[in-house]
């Protein structure tokens, strides 16, 4: 069995890659994609800890997997909403560059 640390390192890398993308990319869709990567890093964690529970306690606890499924479903809805927002932003400003969308500032 692959030790849990490996999984957690992959998960952390995924999260870091996502966070880096969120912070640096200017295209709003790419930013949204990066958020998905971060979300999936968290999902991976949930599944890993769920399976690791059996190793620790000798019996399976599926609640981590259930959370992961919930999370995926919610992520799907979130993507739909996020894309809709980006679409209407594009209609309004003819751009999806997040640096330019700053009308909510002081």
């Amino acid at each position: 069995m692959i030790p849990i640390e490996y999984w957690l390192i992959v998960s952390s890398l995924l999260f870091a890659v996502g966070a880096y993308g969120v912070l640096t990319r200017r295209n709003a869709i790419v930013v949204l994609m990066c958020i998905e990567i971060m979300l999936n890093a968290a999902n991976l964690n949930l599944v890993v800890f769920s399976s690791y529970h059996t190793v620790l306690h000798g019996w399976a606890d599926p609640s981590g997997q259930a959370f992961a499924l919930f999370s995926i479903a919610i992520a799907a809805a979130e993507v739909a909403v996020g894309l809709a927002i980006i679409l209407s932003v594009y209609r309004r400003y003819k751009t999806i560059d997040v640096d330019k969308i700053n009308v909510l500032r002081w």
Partner: protein, 654 residues
């Protein structure tokens, strides 16, 4: 009847409300004249009933008088009540008679004023109402409230023609200068309240009512209360507002600035007698102020060309007489157990109200006819205005002290009281000389005025005509009073015994003079003849200088006489002193205060606001609307928190 005396101010007040609030169409004749006469006459009728009761020996003072609670502050109840004694009755007589006649007279005098008459009648009614309120007040606080209200009405009416800058500034001056006195009055009241805990006359005036007040504070309190009188009665050195107050309509001058409001100061002094006689120092101050005022104002009146200003200075001078009489009278109460000075001063108060109102209304009649105040533009008016010239002659004779007119009796009584007080403090002899000099000057300037106005040839192209009946009838009535009010000394029990009633606790068992004794005393006293000679000398000098043609007055325009003449024309430069020195000092002080307020007080307050603004301005740059920057802050923040929780805290021992 007396317990209904509180209704007296209600009549004019209702008239004030009606005139102020009714639609113009329902004001009828002369824009509210009818209502004003109604209000004044109602108060007059009720006043006469009250005065009649007082004449019958009935008074209403202290506990038995109706009172109502106005305010409750902590444990102290501020009450309004009425205080009817002989002094109140005297003031009621003056205010009701002069007030009513002046309102009647206004119909003619204010006829050309158009729509502003409504404001005039409303303000006059308000004044009459609060003046009654002042007179019947039974505690110092109530008196002070009405005291301020008459000041307000005075301000409004002096500034009646407010579109004239001189009138507007005269109104302000009157208000501000009298305010100095009012502050002193208030300070005196506060001192009394601090020690005694009540402001009711009943509590303060009873035997030992002020034993809680230390002697020096008592002197201060009485002197300060008299300070209120200095302002209101235009005593030296706060007298300069009264001549300026002549900017108002002449009716206002007659009512407020001759017969009633300026008497409020004398009334206050007389009312405070039970306190004043406890402090001889204050009495001396009162007398000295009175004597100085009488003489200074009389000299100022010598060289005025404005007919109303002559009368204004004359008013100040006569008020000084009354104050002098009261100050001397206090010494007589203390040392001789005699109310002589008090009765003399109040007697002069009444007589002066009648003849000075008469003189002012005559002057108003003249001004109405020739449309100028300047006596140099008049002359020869006798032919055109028979009634006015005759009534004014009566007024001038009365004030000059020619027997048997009213001024003779009361002026003589005052001077006799001052002379008598000289036995106890020789300073009163000096004051008596000032008084007798004033008597001479009074006779002189009054007849100078009369000759300049009515005698000789016209000095300008005027079209004079006698005034309408609404004006001449009040003149005739007042002339009758100016002739006859002096005989009050001999009517019934006599004026002296009557007035003694209001201070009888102070002079227990004073010797009662019979009316015959009083008459004999007056006519056998050589002092009477001194003042008579002075009066006739003054009249003769005026006759020689201003009536007999060929007198060369230009000899007074050079040398020492010229300097004196110019000093008199400039009223001893007192007004100039205030303008050039006092005003500048106060203005400089104000500038300092302004700078302190602007830069220190406001500086601190504004500094805090500026600090907040600056901080906000610096911090708000962070909120630049860039989502990624927000995110970066969040990420870095979470990292810092994690480092803190995972490494710093365990390192610290948690």
């Amino acid at each position: 009847m007396l317990e209904y005396a509180w209704l007296i101010p209600i009549f004019p007040f209702v008239a004030f409300l009606l005139i102020a609030l009714l639609p113009k169409r329902t004001l009828f004749y002369e824009d509210g004249w009818g209502y004003a006469v109604g209000g004044a006459a109602g108060a007059f009728a009720l006043s006469i009933l009250v005065v009649w009761d007082v004449l019958m020996g009935d008074t209403l003072t202290g506990a038995e008088a109706p009172r109502t609670t106005w305010l409750i502050i902590g444990g102290y109840e501020v009450e309004f009540g009425i205080w009817i004694d002989q002094l109140t009755a005297l003031m009621l007589v003056v205010v009701s008679i002069v007030g009513t006649l002046v309102v009647v007279y206004s119909a003619g005098y204010m006829h050309h004023e158009g729509d502003t008459r409504r404001r005039y009648y409303a303000e006059i009614m308000l004044f009459v109402s609060v003046m009654y309120g002042l007179v019947i007040a039974d505690n110092y606080l109530q008196m002070f409230i009405f005291w301020e209200l008459v000041g307000l009405c005075s301000y409004l009416l002096i500034g009646f023609w407010y579109e004239r800058p001189s009138a507007a500034s005269a109104a302000k001056r009157a208000f501000i200068v009298t305010r100095i006195g009012d502050i002193m009055f208030l300070a005196g009241i506060i001192i009394l309240f601090k020690y005694v805990g009540t402001l009711d006359f009943a509590g303060l005036f009873e035997e030992g009512g002020t034993h809680a007040v230390p002697t020096d504070m008592m002197v201060l309190a009485t002197a300060l209360i008299f300070g209120g009188a200095i302002g209101k009665s235009a005593q030296f050195p706060l007298h300069e507002w009264l001549p300026d107050a002549m900017e108002g309509p002449t009716t206002v001058s007659a009512l407020i600035h001759a017969a009633t409001m300026v008497k409020a100061g004398v009334y206050l002094t007389a009312r405070s007698y039970p306190l004043l006689v406890q402090t001889p120092e204050s009495l001396l101050f009162v007398a000295a102020i009175g004597g100085t005022t009488a003489l200074v104002a009389a000299t100022c009146a010598l060289a005025q060309n404005d007919i109303k200003r002559v009368l204004a200075y004359s008013t100040i001078s006569q008020l000084g007489y009354m104050i002098l009489g009261l100050g001397a009278g206090g010494y007589l109460v203390i040392h001789a157990n005699s109310p002589g000075g008090y009765t003399a001063a109040t007697f002069h108060l009444m007589n002066h109200a009648f003849f000075k109102a008469l003189l002012f209304l005559c002057a108003g009649s003249v001004i109405h006819a020739v449309s100028t105040n300047d006596m140099r533009m008049m002359g020869g008016l006798r032919k055109h205005m028979k009634i006015t010239s005759l009534t004014m002659l009566i007024g001038a004779l009365a004030i000059a002290g020619v027997p048997p007119l009213s001024g003779f009796w009361s002026k003589d009584e005052v001077l006799a009281a001052v002379w008598h007080a000289g036995e106890f403090d020789s300073i009163f002899f000096v004051l008596w000389f000032m008084g007798i000099a004033t008597a001479f000057l009074t006779a002189f300037y009054m007849f100078r005025m009369w000759f300049l106005t009515f005698a000789g040839e016209p000095r300008s192209d005027y079209h004079a005509h006698e005034s309408p009946k609404t004006m001449t009838v009040p003149l005739i009535i007042l002339a009758g009073l100016a002739v006859s009010s002096g005989f009050a000394l001999f009517i019934g029990d006599g004026f002296k015994l009557f007035m003694e009633g209001s201070i009888e606790e102070l002079v227990p068992g004073a010797a009662v003079e019979s009316l015959g004794d009083i008459a004999v005393e007056i006519f056998t006293d050589p002092l009477t003849y001194v003042s008579l000679v002075m009066a006739f000398a003054g009249i003769f000098l005026a006759y020689r200088m201003y009536y007999v043609p060929g007198f060369d007055r230009s000899r007074f325009s050079s040398g020492v006489a010229g300097k004196l003449q110019r000093a008199l024309e400039n009223r001893w430069y007192i007004s100039k002193f205030y303008d050039d020195f006092a005003v500048k000092v106060v203005y400089g002080l104000s500038l300092v205060c302004d700078a302190f307020d602007r830069y220190v007080i406001d500086g601190i307050v504004n500094g805090f606001a500026y600090l907040g603004g600056m901080t906000g301005g610096a911090i708000r740059k962070v909120q630049d609307g860039n989502v990624q920057r927000y995110t970066a802050v969040i990420v870095v923040g979470i990292c810092l928190i994690l480092i803190f929780v995972l490494y710093i805290l365990p390192w610290g021992g948690w």
